[in-house]
Amino acid sequence: MNSVPPDSPPPAQSTLQQLEEGGALSQFASSIAHEVCNPLSQIVLATDLLAGPQPMTDEFRKKIITFLRQGADRIEKAMKSMLQTCAPIETSMVAEDANVLIETALASLTVDASVRVEKHFASDLSSILIDKKHMTEAVAAIFANALDAMQPSGGTLTITTYAKVFTSSEREGWQRQSWFRAGDHAVVIEIADTGHGIHKSQMPLIFEAFYTTKVAGKGAGLGLTVAKKVVDLHHGRLEIDNRPEGGVLAVLTLKSAAKPATFLSQPLP
């Protein structure tokens, strides 16, 4: 792995700015209200019980105090997550092997024994230019969602990497840096799970801050939001859709830092 002085580093941009640009700020604020008002409700109701006229045992009082602490902890966690989401993402770009990135992200997670992990890694990938810390967290967040979707019954997580050369121009969004042009080299990481899939009505919400289908307190609903922001900052592409055979397929496409080493080492004719 080599440190590469980036020619044109992605600008540090706060997520808040990005949300404003997308017109999603009010939804973000609404989501924060949800994450804070629910545990606040818990605290208010627990206080009412403590202040109420009904006699209570020491054991019951301790249980109510646990409700209070748990509510306060959730608010603290929500506020920390919000600050993390809104903080500018500073990037320090290095060239990295996508397969190493995947292994690092996987190692940061606990994979339940009920899940089988299948890897189909291409060996001739060119390196990708990434902020290692943020992109590892982003990939880990995609893995975590896939793993959670396969609980409690388990399943198979299939990770595939391959090189791609764009044969035609693919424009998405308004940022020219994010467009893939004919001849561009990219590395594609596909992450497939065999979980319950995503309901079509929920599909437009999956990258929305604080949106989650997990049970209360199990996930703040920020993993994919932050992952998408990180991928956008790298001018990459993250697409998520249901697989026809069941489960979800996430496709992460990142521009190559250079042409494959095998290509460069080919002898001249």
Binding site: H34, L40, Q42, I43, D48, T212, A216, G217
Partner: protein, 131 residues
């Protein structure tokens, strides 16, 4: 505060994916001596519980996994056996999209914002219980 005989107690069903909230609400409401309370934290079992418990009033959360409050009320109001049951919302936030979901039907129902104290909740419930 005095305990009413069970037959005089109004039946309140709390549907919210937050078990701590329904548990605390249930304890506070039952302590008032006025209500018989049941909780349901799994939105997919909401209609089944309504049918089984036959509450006088349903206190329904809006944002829940699987079925949200709008989905539940849409199904309830389209079920001849259940459509007479009174429903109010208890929500941390109401989004524009949710307000207009299912033809705006959700906007026709009263809602109480979280956090609400027990006194506020009882006042709200009493106001909207069928007479």
């Amino acid at each position: 505060m005095s305990d009413s005989p069970d037959s005089a107690k109004k039946k309140i069903l709390l549907i919210d994916d937050e078990p701590f909230i329904t548990s605390l609400m249930a304890m506070n409401l039952e302590d008032s001596g006025r209500y018989e309370v049941r909780e349901q934290n799994d939105s997919l079992k909401a209609l089944e519980t309504i049918m089984d418990f036959v509450p006088d009033l349903v206190v329904l959360d809006v944002m829940m996994p699987d079925l949200d409050g709008a989905d539940i009320i849409y199904r309830l109001k389209n079920d001849a056996r259940l459509k007479h049951i009174a429903v109010v919302f208890h929500t941390a936030t109401v989004r524009e999209a949710e307000l207009h979901a299912h033809g705006g039907i959700i906007s026709g129902f009263p809602f109480l914002a979280k956090p609400a104290t027990t006194d506020q909740m009882i006042e709200f419930i009493e106001k909207h219980l069928p007479k």
